[in-house]
């Protein structure tokens, strides 16, 4: 299939889904109270974006997401590289990390509430906690992409340990680290959303939960749309960077 035909097919599919969303409730084939027509949701989307309550919620959530990410990614990357590179730390911590990684993080949410309350700090702490393990795992795996031959070459030309790290490890791992960034953001967003929807006084997750409880379906769908747009935008940006940084991976 040619590229233009592929794009056309994708657009046609999207148009069909959106048309179904618009017309199925309008023709009363599905209950409009449960699935409001697309045009209503879009109108509501514009309306809620203008509301200060929503803007504040978005700001709070964005702050939580960014801060949690800034804790989870560097810490996770360092621990991951350490566990993969140092036999000593690897042998000690690897089993424990694998055990904790396998546990669904949401069951720890009540404990985070007991320790941090239900405010900003609790969202950040819980999201960072639920993200850090996937970062550790992928960073440790990324170390495997560093070739021993390349390290040897660098050493033979007199590279110091720091130079081996920056000149061989970082470029070897970069495409994998970007992938890590992308996947860990999914975990991070999920963490913040779950924490907000479970118990919170602010944030977009809390709004979505309360719209749902109050049966305000257009608002609910508009909120979902907002979050989906943000998540997709981040994901695609990093994917684009990944493609640019890995032209040599062929």
């Amino acid at each position: 299939m040619s590229r233009s035909a592929l794009i056309l097919t994708r657009l046609a599919l999207l148009a069909m889904v959106l048309a179904a969303w618009e017309w199925l409730p309008r023709w009363a084939i599905v209950n409009a109270a449960l699935l409001p027509p697309l045009s209503d949701v879009l109108a509501m989307f514009v309306t809620i974006l203008g509301r200060s309550q929503v803007q504040e919620a978005v700001a709070v959530t964005a702050g939580e997401v960014v801060l949690a990410f800034m804790f989870a990614v560097p810490i996770g990357a360092c621990v991951g590289v350490l566990v993969a590179e140092s036999e000593y730390f690897g042998q000690i911590f690897r089993p424990m990390l694998f055990y904790v990684f396998s546990i669904p993080k949401s069951i720890f949410l009540p404990m985070f509430i007991l320790v941090f309350g239900i405010g900003f700090a609790q969202k950040v702490a819980y999201a960072a906690f639920s993200t850090v393990f996937i970062v550790i795992m992928s960073a440790a795996a990324a170390v495997g992409s560093v070739k021993a031959d390349h390290v040897l070459v660098a050493r033979s030309y007199g590279a110091t340990r720091a130079q081996v790290l920056t000149r061989v490890y970082v470029p070897s791992m970069l495409p994998f680290l970007l992938e890590t960034l992308r996947i860990s953001m999914i975990f991070n967003l999920t963490g913040v959303m779950i924490a907000e929807m479970y118990a919170s006084r602010s944030g977009i997750g809390q709004l979505i939960a309360s719209w749902g409880e109050n049966f305000q379906m257009p608002q609910l769908f508009a909120g979902v749309m907002l979050l989906a747009a943000a998540a997709i935008a981040f994901n695609e940006t990093v994917r684009w960077l990944e493609a640019r940084c890995s032209t040599w991976r062929t």
């Binding site: 070739k147 031959d149 390349h150 040897l152 070459v153 660098a154 050493r155 033979s156 030309y157 007199g158 590279a159 130079q163 000149r167 061989v168 470029p171 070897s172 970069l174 032209t247 040599w248 991976r249 062929t250």
Partner: protein, 269 residues
């Protein structure tokens, strides 16, 4: 004082006539069943400007020996002198190394790969570029500097590797089976090219291979190693004139030398 300085300088030059001296080198590593002798009582001298090839079956420790000459590994006992001084850490001023295939950094262009040793030592950018370009010309790749390794053929990649090994102008070039992954024709061409580069640059070359034809074709002297433990069991002086030509491979001298080395290796494997 002046007199003494001159004298020691003279001595340094005298020693320098030997580019590499290995004395009573042994290496033991810890395997699953205890200590395994990998290299035993190796002594050899490589004269400055000579082309010495080490051959031997796999597992004879020829690559290990080369890595020790590069200062990348430490022997259990014995000494290695390079230009009269011990080498126990890598010293790119004295030794350049060319590895087996795929040792180029895939995220750097050919030119950047050649510049790598210089950039490790923070050489000025212009100087780096100038010398890398000169090396690229030397190995016959002018105009290919902007290509990434995956855009180059196997032979071209090894040309870049050789250029990278030579860019700091070390007196000694160590080569670890650099053409092993190439097809037969490319391999012959690359051997010939290497001899051209060698004669243009006056380097001392220690070349490890398991191809006997390649060994005899390239070398002034062939050292034959036995496996487990690695020992030097034969030294063959190659008396063929230089420059070498492909036709020489069909001569009696060539055939006899190759046969002699083969018989030695056959006995120990």
């Amino acid at each position: 004082m002046q007199h003494v300085a001159n004298l020691s300088e003279l001595r340094a030059k005298e020693v320098h006539a030997a580019a590499i001296e290995v004395a009573e080198l042994s290496h033991v590593y810890l395997g699953r069943d205890g200590k395994v002798p990998a290299l035993e009582d190796i002594s050899l001298t490589v004269g400055a400007g000579r082309f010495v090839v080490i051959v031997g079956p796999s597992g004879c420790g020829k690559t290990s020996l080369l890595m020790m000459m590069a200062g990348l590994r430490r022997p259990t006992s014995g000494t290695i002198l390079c230009a009269g001084r011990p080498i126990d850490v890598p010293d790119p001023d004295r030794v350049g190394v060319v590895f087996q295939e795929a040792s180029l950094f895939p995220w750097l262009t050919a030119l950047e790969n050649i510049e790598f040793p210089l950039s490790i030592r923070h050489a000025p950018r212009l100087e780096r570029r100038r010398r890398a370009e000169a090396m690229l010309n030397l190995v016959g790749l002018a105009g290919f500097g902007a290509r990434y390794p995956h855009e180059l053929s196997g032979g071209m990649k090894q040309r870049v590797s050789i250029a990278r090994g030579l860019v700091q102008d070390p007196p000694v070039l160590l080569m670890d089976e650099p053409f092993a992954a190439l097809d037969e024709q490319t391999r012959m061409t690359m051997g010939h090219e290497l001899l051209r580069i060698w004669s243009q640059t006056n380097k001392t070359v220690v070349f490890v291979t398991h191809s006997l034809t390649e060994a005899v074709y390239l070398a002034d002297e062939v050292l034959v190693m036995s496996p487990r433990p690695g020992r030097i069991i034969d030294r063959a002086e190659v008396t063929l004139p230089r420059p070498r030509t492909y036709e020489m491979m069909a001569t009696d001298v060539f055939g006899r030398l190759r046969e002699r080395i083969w018989q030695k290796i056959r006995k120990v494997t």
